[in-house]
């Protein structure tokens, strides 16, 4: 159930532009993204491929965005898939598969080219399989300290490069909703399923549907405000599992817009004390599992302020909400909390509907320049300034407001 795409990092609507080389890259071939990934994965020379969804053509490439004289370019025709090992700046396991471009040791010494035998002679000769290219850090002998290199310093033969493990390279704050690291295995070591695939596990978290959740490739993420990042696994017997990600000590959680008397946006920063639903039902305490069981334990969500039974928004819902104390009603939104007024530009303001506004703002809220009132282009004003409103309305409607009253009586 492992997809060959699991070895690749996908960049949508992107292509790799290369200066003409000799020999030119292989011609495009027919195939789905997974078939191309299979071919590229088994080819030592292939490091990436373009996939044209429309024509189902793919072109295998011997380079990545980190190769010399290569650049990325937007192109809606292609998706670019690059082997993760060539892109990741962290290591999995002992880093034997690391193919990044780090070329200095942990003490800052520059690495000696693998091709060279001075100042340090050695027996590790470059080959397409062992990836000993340029003077990049590598781990040809599976040293448990991870990738290393011979150094250009005659007094220091070789040294570890100190490349971090992926689970340590990017830490997480709070519950890891904003984690965007590249760990793609669960805490039990099972490989994650890609978010853009529906096998072996069907799931609702399509990357297109959740553009703000970072559901890239098969990396651990937390789209549903679980306790910590997780993923669907490639093991058909185990749907999903948490991942092991280091909790940040150095990085503070992203500050939320804390409000009390009102809520802003989705109310994730609401810290007020409203604790009754709009239909008058008291909220259930967050630290209680009665009458509704749930996983939002205050201790597991330190950043969400799940105090008492106050309306809160720990999972990015539309508005603050709470479990209700009525067994028949599990959850209720707290839309009755006043919404904070939108931040007005300090620029200018108006009263009421702005009938008496005579300021100088001349751009719309989305930055479109206003048309001079005296102009007739591009828009012909369709009303006369200050036209008197008619007292009586000759009310006429067409094609609206009609319904089949018989349906009113008849239930379905």
């Amino acid at each position: 159930h492992r997809s060959p795409l699991n070895d690749f990092q996908r960049l949508r609507a992107t292509e790799l532009l290369a200066v003409p080389v000799d020999p030119p890259p292989p011609l495009p071939e027919q195939g789905t993204a997974e078939q191309c990934a299979q071919r590229c994965a088994t080819s030592l020379a292939c490091r990436a491929f373009h996939h044209d969804q429309q024509s189902q053509l793919c072109q295998l490439l011997p380079w990545t965005q980190h190769s010399p004289h290569i650049q990325l370019q937007k192109n809606i025709r292609y998706d670019l898939y690059q082997k993760k090992d060539y892109l990741r700046d962290c290591i999995v396991g002992d880093g034997s598969s690391y193919r990044g471009t780090r070329a200095t040791t942990e003490k800052g010494l520059r690495c000696q080219h693998w091709q060279a035998t001075t100042p340090h002679d050695h027996r590790f000769l470059p080959s397409p399989r062992n990836g000993l290219e340029e003077n990049y850090c590598r781990n040809p002998d599976r040293d448990k300290r991870g990738p290393w290199c011979y150094t250009v310093d005659p007094n220091v033969r070789h040294q570890s490069c100190g490349i971090k493990k992926c689970e340590d390279a990017v830490c997480m704050t709070c519950n890891g909703e904003d984690y965007r690291g590249t760990v793609d295995h669960t805490e039990s070591g099972t490989e994650c399923q890609r978010w853009d695939l529906q096998h072996p596990h069907k799931h609702p978290y399509h990357p297109n549907k959740y553009p703000d959740k970072g559901l890239d490739d098969n990396y651990c993420r937390n789209p549903d405000s679980s306790e910590r990042p997780w993923c669907y696994t490639t093991d058909p017997r185990r749907e999903r599992e948490y991942c092991h990600i280091r909790i940040c000590t150095e990085k503070r959680p992203r500050p939320v817009n804390v409000t009390n008397g009102c809520f802003r946006g989705k109310g994730e920063g609401y810290r007020g004390r409203v604790n009754v639903t709009v239909s008058g039902i008291p909220c259930q305490r967050w630290d209680s599992q009665v009458p509704h069981k749930h996983h939002f334990m205050p201790s597991k969500y330190p950043c969400k302020d799940l105090q008492e039974n106050y309306c809160r928004n720990p999972d990015g819902s539309e508005a603050p909400w709470c479990f209700t104390s009525r067994p028949t009603v599990r959850i209720a939104f707290c839309f009755h909390i006043r919404r904070c007024p939108d931040e007005q530009d300090a620029q200018e303001c108006y009263h009421g509907h702005g009938k008496h506004y005579h300021g100088h703002v001349s751009k719309t809220r989305k930055g479109i320049t206003c048309q001079p009132w005296a102009a007739q282009t591009p828009h012909v004003p369709h009303w006369q300034h200050g036209a008197p409103h008619h007292g009586e309305y000759a009310v006429t409607f067409e094609q609206c407001g009609q319904r089949d009253e018989r349906l009113q009586q008849k239930g379905r």
């Binding site: 609702p204 297109n208 549907k209 959740y210 553009p211 703000d212 946006g265 989705k266 639903t277 709009v278 239909s279 008058g280 819902s317 539309e318 508005a319 028949t328 009603v329 209720a332 939104f333 839309f335 009755h336 919404r339 007024p341 939108d342 007005q344 009421g352 509907h353 702005g354 809220r365 009303w383 409103h389 309305y393 009310v395 006429t396 409607f397 094609q399 609206c400 407001g401 009609q402 319904r403 089949d404 349906l407 009113q408 239930g411 379905r412």
Partner: protein, 227 residues
């Protein structure tokens, strides 16, 4: 809707989030435009990818085979003048008008609904046990004169608000109905005179209910649909 009964309101739409959960109501004023309330949306630039409107069915969560159901993605939100608390939602494609999907009329600009007019609210929100919460419910409410309502609210009523009188039986909108229509029959057509906005308590029996007065914003609504 508290104190209502199942009914047919073919312009009332269900607005659903990425999980497919109904969270607010709206009204179909053009094949590709729905009016709702700002209170339901996180911002005027919200990315509504994955959000949809559901029309043509009486059921809050219809089965897969519901014959008249239409589900259309929302592609854009346009906020009204900040006082209005209105938003317009542009749909990815026009809704197909059927016997269960119809447009509601917009009122003439600044039209004042005569006091006592019996109007109708509709929604899939909380019923507080007064009706079947799995289907669309409607309820009738009489419009209260602006002056009388202003007195009842001790002068706090805004020009942009419309009131209905409290009923002893406790009838009114509740959570999940917000953004839905207050429709009034005018010249034999149903006209969107109000948009349901959140109140601190549902279906009060001691205070008028407030709605956004649509006739004040008809000019803006027309402009948005034209532009």
């Amino acid at each position: 809707i508290v104190g209502g009964q199942p009914g047919n309101s073919p312009w009332t739409v269900s607005i659903r989030n990425r999980e497919g959960v109904h969270f607010c109501g709206g009204s179909l004023v053009k094949e590709q435009w729905v009016i709702s309330t700002r209170q339901c949306f996180s911002s005027c630039n919200a990315d509504l990818t994955g959000y949809e409107v559901q029309l043509g069915t009486l059921f809050k969560d219809p089965g897969p085979g519901d014959p008249d159901q239409q589900t259309i993605p929302i592609v854009r939100i346009v906020c009204g003048p900040s006082e209005s608390q209105l938003v317009m939602l542009k749909l990815a494609r026009p809704a197909t008008l059927t016997r269960r999907v119809a447009l509601i009329c917009l009122p003439p600009e600044r039209y004042v609904v005569p006091a006592g007019t019996v109007c109708e609210i509709a929604g899939w929100g909380e019923t507080r046990g007064t009706a079947d919460g799995s289907v669309l419910n409607v309820a009738q409410l009489p419009v209260l004169a602006h002056s009388e309502c202003n007195r009842a609210l001790r002068g706090r009523l805004k020009e942009s608000e419309l009131c209905t009188a409290p009923l002893r039986a406790g009838v009114g909108a509740c959570e999940g109905d917000y953004g839905g229509p207050l429709a009034c029959l005018t010249a034999d057509c149903w006209v969107l005179e109000g948009v349901i906005t959140p109140s601190r308590v549902c279906a009060r029996t001691d205070q008028p209910a407030l709605f956004i007065r649509v006739s004040l914003y008809v000019d803006w609504i027309d402009k948005v649909m034209k532009m």
